[in-house]
Amino acid sequence: MKKITQFLFLALSVSLFVSCSNDDSDNPKGVYDDGFFILNEGSADGGSVSFVGEDLSTFNADVYKTVNGADFVGKYLQNIFFDGDKAYIISGGSNVINVVNRYTFQLIAKIDSDLANPRYGVVKDGKAYVTNANTYSYSNPATGDTDDYVAVINLTTNKVESKIALNSTANRIIEENNKLYITDASNSKLLILNPSTKALEGSVEIGFGANSMEEEDGYLYILKNSYSDRSEIVKVKLSDKTIAKITFPESLDSGQGFLDIEDNKIYYTANNDVYVMSTSATAASTTPIFTAAISTDGSIYGFAVEDDKIYVSDSGDYASNSKAFVYNLSGALLKDFTVGIAPNGFYFND
């Protein structure tokens, strides 16, 4: 249950795509080339992955099942990351990472040992770095908040080859310029990890509540959801680790918000509204571009901006199929899709 309250993030920093050679030739590498996946967190009975073609007309609600039949993808699917022609689907509830061909979705292998509540992953030089929440303090008050680690996975053998202890909590992770940046809502610090030395290189005090983050032009933008204070965007200058903050007005108080950066614009959400502001702005916009068509019991659970489209998913009631929406940049609804339970992220495959 705890995990359901966690939020989605686009683990795909632009740099990830550098490694995959996309050609614009007319030879698709598989059925699921050119389009995007929607990760459905699912319930204790397992999650699913939906696929939408680039033209928004091809749709498959459960590609993993379509391709891999009865194989169980795992419960509480948290994140997908890519490397080359492979996609890695993290199941937090089953301690599994499913390795599939990103174009055919054929199961290749499973990384199924030495993981403990895996959350998010990135790839750098043939190795995946996956945050593991390990135990939680509600059941392990002694070390629940200090036992999180990064699993270093050799992507040739698909085995965890080492664990980097973080001595704090960890959730989201991105790679930028040969450094790994790690945040967690209940950790007031941004952790900086060096993948070459497999050691922590320091931290930056940013305050509690960190959720989505994105790097752009030497700055790390972190959206913080604050339950008692105001929400904030913390801007960390990576060269000298100085920070600047944009504090949201009270009208933008929100349990969970998301952020994505596209063309020097920060797109962010508060409650069911989507806003935009310039990366150079010093105050948040309080006029939404649009209000997403979220269900009564639901909230925004996944968010992305890519190629002039805004992608929003609805958590739904966590017990029935929910929806994912595609809007244009001015907020007009282009299409919606009925996906699985609790869709929590969009992953672009092109």
Binding site: G46, D62, F72, L115, N140, S320
Partner: protein, 617 residues
């Protein structure tokens, strides 16, 4: 610790009874039922009684007994794991389990796990369909399951020992002794059911091609009972029921790589009861203390756990008065105090008192009427006035008509009210109106009961996600549940050949009024059947269960279901006539090796066996 204490208590009593037996001997047979109101005020509803001969033909845990013999639907998280019910299309906490007249549903989550109870610990298990909140309180909406220890005052010293050994190291030990004379009656029982439960999943392999099996599914359930009754004289008698149990159970894995977890739970129940019979006036006073606790270990390799405990003190006074030969009035007042503390919901107490008035009028032996009203008083929530109104008319030997209308409720649990975070102290109880018509046909050796019911449930408590992802219970949904239940019984003797057959069928529609969808985990169809044959020392039986498909999502996605299944068992036993009775039995369970799931991705075992020895001396 509690078990030890109870043991010494049992032996203390045992000595007294052995001594008492050598006392005066007057052969006065009398059975005192533990729950008089179940018989007195249930004329207008259907009660299915499963006696010990049926209990003995089933696997010990209550899930199997009721799954194969009643219309109740079970949701089992793998064999022997957490098992919850849906009765007449209601939720797990809308079926109340009643132990010797006392409601024992968990104060923490409102429901009962039917795999923590062994049917062999009771003389009879009764299933009463339909509302019963006036008599049994919270949760008696879909129906009630009654676990009864009836006492005999018949000057006998009997012992029963049953030993089971089956596939997956499944071991059952059940011992019961009854000692009584005309003044004293006592029963002492012990049961232990355990299994390594490491069965193979039929035709299921990991991605590496290895056979999958039920990992981390082991369980061990130990229960001790000691019940005693004493008749001071014809007018006054005292009864004491005590029971303690401990369940130590791991939780079966969905995938091999999951963290292994386990769950320990236990209870201790004590009930002291006084019966006074003064002609027109009868009194029944009860005092009960019920302790319940659990520990959840989120990782077996670490000695860390979350926990919850509740202590519940119940006092009840029931005064009966016969206004005339045909009219009986009962006034009941009760008070209960529950203290709960746990890692999830802090430290809280709640007090509830209630008064009830019950009237029973028999215009003739063929026409019986019941009317009862109850009102609860508590500071925690506003409680509706509950009632039950029923009539039973026997038109002829062939046909009996029963009609009952009632209002029932379920109160919010400690989790609902106080869970940190999300608990909502401003909840209303769930409440329901219910109407049913029962047709009972009896013809020679056949009895057929056909009941149609309609239940309207309001303020259904649902945990829904709120702002910031914090889940919180709310009185949201309205549900209409309606359908029919059919119970069929037949028995016939041809010379030395004795045949019996029984069947049940339930058709259930349980509709969320807003979405018009069937509630998830409520099957439209469920049927059971059993036939048995006995001749001289040998008896053989066959039983089957058909469970219709269930939706696993609230939106009734046709791809997200647990498929329907039929599973059959067959058994045979032979009585060597050594001592009073010495039966050796053999059972084949899941005879046709059906690959089925009770819940999504939770496979049940294929064909497996059980051997048992049943001694009576």
């Amino acid at each position: 610790m509690t078990l030890k204490k109870l043991f010494s208590f049992c032996f203390l009593f045992l000595c007294q009874f052995i001594w008492a037996q050598s006392d005066t001997i007057t052969n006065l047979k009398e059975v005192i039922v533990s729950d008089a109101n179940l018989i007195k005020y249930s004329n207008s509803q259907s009660v299915l009684k499963l006696n010990d001969s049926i209990i003995n033909k089933n696997e010990p845990l209550l899930t199997d007994l009721l799954n194969f013999n009643s219309t109740i639907y079970f949701k089992e998280y793998g064999r022997g794991m957490l098992s919850t019910v849906s009765f007449r299309g209601t939720t797990a906490s809308q079926t109340a389990v009643i132990w010797n007249g006392i409601n024992i549903n968990s104060q923490m989550n409102g429901s009962t796990d039917f795999n923590t109870i062994s049917g062999t610990d009771y003389n009879s298990v009764s299933v009463k369909a339909g509302g019963g909140s006036v008599l049994y309180g919270s949760g008696a909406i879909g129906g009630t399951v009654h676990l009864n220890n009836d006492m005999k005052f018949d000057n006998k010293f009997t012992n029963k020992l049953r030993l089971d050994y089956g596939s997956f190291n499944t071991i059952g030990i059940n011992y019961q002794t009854n000692i009584s004379n005309d003044k004293w009656s006592t029963q002492i029982g012990f049961s232990k059911n355990s299994s390594t439960n490491d069965y193979k999943y039929l035709n299921r392999y990991t991605w590496r091609g290895e056979q999958r099996w039920n990992q981390n599914g082991q369980y061990d359930i130990i229960t001790v009972n000691a019940n005693a009754g004493y008749k001071f004289n014809a007018k006054n008698r005292l009864k004491l029921y005590t029971q303690a149990s401990n369940t130590d159970r791991n939780t079966s894995l969905l995938t091999e790589s999951e963290i292994k977890t386990k769950y320990k739970s236990g209870f201790n129940r004590n009930l002291l009861e006084y019966d006074g019979d003064f002609g027109k006036l009868t009194t029944n006073l009860k005092a009960a203390y019920i302790f319940e606790d659990f520990q959840y270990f989120p990782d077996n390799s670490l000695n860390l756990f979350t926990f919850g405990k509740t202590e519940n003190l119940i006092t009840k006074a029931d005064i009966g008065y016969s206004l005339s030969k045909s009219t009986q009035l009962n006034a009941i007042a009760d008070y209960s105090k529950t203290k709960g503390y746990g890692s999830g919901f802090g430290d809280h107490a709640r007090e509830i008192s209630s008064v009830a008035l019950l009237l029973k009028q028999d215009f003739s032996t063929d026409w019986k009427n019941e009317l009862s009203v109850r009102k609860e008083f508590t500071e925690n929530y506003k409680s509706p006035v509950l009632f039950s109104l029923g009539t039973s008319y026997q038109f002829s030997e062939l046909y009996n008509l029963k009609v009952n209308v009632s209002r029932n409720f379920r109160i919010p649990t400690f989790n609902d009210l106080y869970w940190e975070q999300g608990g909502n102290p401003d909840l209303k109880p769930e409440s329901s109106y219910q109407a049913e018509i029962g047709n009972v046909f009896s013809f020679k050796n056949i009895s057929l009961t056909q009941t149609f019911y309609y239940i309207k449930i309001q303020d259904l408590l649902q945990w829904v996600p709120g702002r910031g992802g914090i889940w919180s219970p709310k009185n949201t949904d309205k549900v209409n549940s309606y359908g029919s239940e059919t119970l069929l019984n037949w028995n016939k003797q041809y010379g030395k050949n004795h045949f019996t057959a029984s069947a049940t069928y339930a058709y259930t529609i349980s509709e969320d009024l807003e979405t018009k969808n069937q509630l998830f985990f409520v099957p439209f169809h469920k049927a059971t059947g059993a036939v048995s044959y006995s001749r001289n020392k040998i008896s053989a039986y066959y039983q089957f269960l058909y469970n219709g498909f269930v939706y696993t999502q609230t939106d009734n996605d046709p791809d997200k279901i647990v498929k329907d299944y039929t599973v059959s068992n067959i058994g045979v036993d032979y009585d060597f006539n050594f001592l009073n009775s010495f039966k050796l039995g053999f059972q084949l369970l899941n005879l046709f090796n059906k690959n089925y799931e009770s819940l999504e991705s939770r496979p049940m075992p294929g064909r497996n066996f059980n051997i048992y020895l049943n001694f009576k001396f």
